[in-house]
């Protein structure tokens, strides 16, 4: 295997993991904020 195969592997592994983690983080944040907004609006309606 050539040096560039290893270089490509290192970069592909790195950015696949980082991008996946960042997208999961964005998705979790959106879901958490939506849930909070729903609960707050229900709470306001009930109160």
């Amino acid at each position: 295997m050539s040096d560039w195969t290893f270089i490509q592997a290192a970069y592909i592994v790195t950015w696949t993991v980082v991008c996946t983690y960042a997208l999961l983080g964005i998705s979790k944040l959106r879901r958490a904020e939506q849930r909070l907004a729903e609960i707050e609006s229900r709470n306001g309606g009930a109160g």
Partner: protein, 257 residues
């Protein structure tokens, strides 16, 4: 680019990065700034990676494999900073018992564990063509693995109990112990002279590589701050929602009594 110019550019990048750290750090603490921060981090990372890959010449010993350093070295620096955040936030939690310190430690531990796993994976990919093996029981590698295991345990531990205070106290204890291992990781290449080379510093690195390394060090630092801010905000929003639900359930109980 001659060595003197490369060194001057490297110094300017170092200074500019430190100056940029102030607005980036500020943006990471503001919810409405998170999206612009994400865009800035993305562009900064792309530019830094491209610069490192394109301008660095093949190294005398490693050849083009040196280019792996632009992801491996910044990942290693960033995980050490992440666990320093865990250390400080955990001590602050045990001292002040404020929930946001616990969530900050948890967010940094998660991002730190991801970066530690990446540093190990990149090291293995670099080690195979350079050392001839994917893995060797070198002290730097062994202690980095120990730190990864501790923080994997930290993340698992947080799922073991629903008692918020107990979870935060246990996590803080594990976080502090785990973070105390990081200086051992850092110093291991000086204490035990084995296969892994000592730390790269501006005095030991050829100026041709300083620009790429320094740019990517800041790129990964900004990336870390963005990732920690994302997870911290999500955890705090979940916590606030749970608190409202608990409060409502208590009021309903009282109303039934």
């Amino acid at each position: 680019m001659d060595a003197a110019t490369a060194k001057t550019v490297g110094d300017i990048i170092g200074l500019a990065g430190l100056v940029l750290l102030v607005p980036v750090g500020w943006a990471a603490t503001r919810r409405r700034m998170l999206a612009p921060l994400g865009v800035f981090v993305f562009l900064f990372v792309v530019a830094s990676q491209a610069t490192g890959l394109l301008i660095s010449p093949p190294e005398r010993g490693m050849g083009d494999l040196q280019k792996i350093m632009y992801v491996h070295v910044p990942s290693a620096w960033a995980f050490m900073i992440a666990f320093f955040i865990v250390f400080v936030a955990s001590i602050l939690y045990l001292w002040r018992r404020q929930v946001h310190h616990d969530r900050l430690a948890a967010a940094a531990a998660e991002a730190g564990a991801v970066l530690t796993a990446l540093a190990l994976a990149q090291g293995m990919i670099w080690g195979k063509p350079t050392w001839g093996v994917w893995w060797t029981p070198d002290p730097r590698i062994a202690f980095t693995t120990v730190v990864l295991m501790i923080f994997a345990g930290y993340i698992a531990l947080r799922a073991f109990t629903d008692d918020e205070d107990r979870r935060a106290r246990w996590s803080a204890a594990v976080g502090i112990v785990g973070a105390l291992n990081v200086p051992v990781v850092y110093m291991s290449v000086r204490w035990w002279r084995t296969l892994h080379q000592p730390q790269s510093t501006p005095s030991t690195v050829d100026p041709a590589y300083i620009i790429g390394l320094r740019l990517n060090a800041f790129a990964f630092l900004f990336l870390l701050l963005f990732l920690v801010a994302l997870r911290y905000r999500a955890m705090m929003a979940d916590r606030k929602a749970d608190a409202i639900l608990e409060d409502r359930a208590l009021k309903e109980d009282v109303a039934h009594v």
